[in-house]
């Protein structure tokens, strides 16, 4: 277990920032999760454009809030994913109680880096600005802001510049695994001793251009357009697909040594994690997980954490609201080598915020750590009509928010490309 590691090899979470469809800011997010507040709303534009799915999770109030965070000069070159990432990163920085970042314009924080991922990237900028102008022969009229908004690393590059980060600043991308993968990569970077702190998480914009491809695949839910708050239905028998979400969740990872040195508040410790792929072999494919890979990933995370499977109190699942949910729960059971009634308590945050693609892991890791730190497990809504294949697991599925003294939580994310990531958090004890 982690007592065999030195304080410089142990990694803790000392700050978080959240821009979610149902809340912005940690206290509001805690309340929304506890109270089962849905962030899914009807989006008129999707109806106008004849989408099958006409609901989505979009953070509210950002249009006005963004002016409190960014200058007009910066906003000129910030699409929705960059704005979400910027707000979440600044909030995370402040929550970690680090020094003011805009006091000295020559100051670089050489001890902090960032891995902030995205799944799709700046498709809103491409669709609204770049493609129409280029196709009209007006490339000269694009201006200077297209590259910084459409390069894959747009989100991390903007955050690095705002905060003056001098460590590694990069964007990872592995579809819906992205945010959780970022956390594990940042954890490994700190453990290697190369850096004291890393911001880690994901961001995804709000745009019909981002969501259209999924609607075309018929993987988005289309039967609940009139009742948006009922639309995202992980583990339900009547789900008709996932509901797209957006936003950003970013966590400050820090060596325990650095956190103790500066007396930082510690939310939780990252015990370990694993990242792998199922190889798109067996029953795996570009869009379906190979269960062998998923189970190896979960077991790998448990082993890397130095714990026994039975020590996991809670699972925050990937649980998207597709027919893959029963398979996922069965994978948890098999990986943890127990019977259906022996699995940890399990919930799905997407039931409240939708599936935020590359931001999902970040938004849900913040939810996971908040639950450990503040002693609750939020209800996974909209599965009152549990999928028949999940009946044996019913006693372990948390449908209504409860107080909790859970110590260890496993969070997993899975994505197109048959990629998997699983991270294990433990509540911090002074």
């Amino acid at each position: 277990m982690t007592q065999n590691r030195t304080a410089s090899e142990r990694v803790v979470i000392t700050g978080m920032g959240i821009v979610a469809p149902n809340a912005i800011g940690l206290d509001a997010y805690e309340s929304a999760l506890r109270d089962g507040v849905s962030g899914i709303r009807f989006i008129p534009r999707l109806q106008e454009l004849n989408f099958g799915c006409q609901v989505a999770g979009v953070p509210q109030g950002v249009e006005s809030l963004q002016h409190e965070y960014f200058s007009e000069d910066l906003l000129r070159a910030m699409n929705s994913s960059m704005v979400y990432a910027g707000i979440a990163a600044i909030d995370c920085w402040r929550d970690a109680d680090l020094p003011d970042f805009d006091g000295d314009e020559d100051h670089v924080d050489w001890d902090t880096g960032a891995i902030i991922g995205t799944g799709i990237g700046g498709a809103d900028t491409l669709g609204e600005q770049l493609v129409p102008k280029v196709d009209a022969g007006k490339t000269k009229r694009l201006g200077s802001t297209m590259v910084e908004q459409t390069m894959a690393s747009a989100v991390s590059a903007r955050v690095g510049g705002i905060l003056g980060l001098g460590g590694q600043v990069t964007t990872n991308s592995s579809a819906c695994t992205t945010g959780t993968e970022a956390l594990i990569m940042a954890y490994e970077r700190i453990r290697s001793g190369r850096v004291k702190r890393m911001l880690a998480g994901g961001a995804e914009g709000s745009s019909h251009y981002i969501w259209a491809g999924f609607d075309g695949m018929r993987v988005l839910g289309r039967n609940f357009n009139d009742t948006p708050e009922k639309a995202s239905r992980p583990m339900s028998a009547t789900t008709s697909g996932f509901i797209p979400g957006s936003g950003s969740g970013i966590l400050m990872l820090e060596s325990l040594e650095s956190a103790l040195d500066r007396g930082a508040h510690i939310y939780a410790e990252i015990l370990g994690g694993d990242i792998n792929s199922g190889g798109q072999r067996g029953s795996g494919s570009m869009t379906a997980p190979n269960p062998v890979g998923v189970r190896r990933c979960i077991r790998g995370a448990v082993e890397a954490s130095g714990i026994e499977p039975g020590e996991i109190d809670v699972v925050n699942g990937h649980l998207t609201g597709t027919m893959a949910d029963p398979l996922e729960v069965e994978n948890w059971r098999a990986a943890l080598d127990t019977k259906p009634t022996g699995i940890p308590l399990i919930n799905g945050t997407k039931s409240l915020i939708g599936h935020a693609l590359g931001a999902a892991g970040g938004l849900e890791c913040v939810a996971a750590v908040l639950q450990l730190d503040r002693g609750f497990i939020h209800g996974s809504v909209n599965c009152e009509d549990l999928h028949p294949k999940l009946e044996a697991f019913e006693s372990r599925i948390v449908r209504e928010t409860r107080e909790s003294d859970a110590r260890v939580l496993a969070k997993a994310s899975f994505g197109f490309g048959d990629v998997n990531a699983c991270v294990i958090f433990r509540a911090h004890v002074e």
Binding site: S71, E72, D73, R76, R141, G143, S144, T145
Partner: protein, 82 residues
């Protein structure tokens, strides 16, 4: 449009790009757009596009390259507008 009018409009267009608002308030025709007003050099392209839109003119790349100060911008715009 007289020279003062053009100058005032140029300052108004550059305003949102200037990272040093104090320098902008004290600016005159000799003020350097990049070094004095601390405008990000990549954004010069956007300023030229705004000049084109607001003054209804076209500024070719060679002409744009000659604009260093607020006065240079005014000269070029007055020259093109004729």
């Amino acid at each position: 449009m007289d020279r003062t009018e053009v100058y005032n409009k140029v300052v108004e267009i550059i305003g949102p790009f200037a990272k040093d608002p104090e320098a902008l308030s004290k600016a005159d025709e000799k003020t350097n757009i990049l070094t004095d007003l601390k405008v990000n050099s990549a954004r010069l392209v956007d300023i030229i596009l705004d000049f084109e839109d607001k003054f209804d003119i076209e500024i070719d790349d060679d002409a744009a390259d000659q604009i260093m100060t607020l006065g240079d911008a005014v000269d070029k715009i007055v020259e093109i507008k004729g």
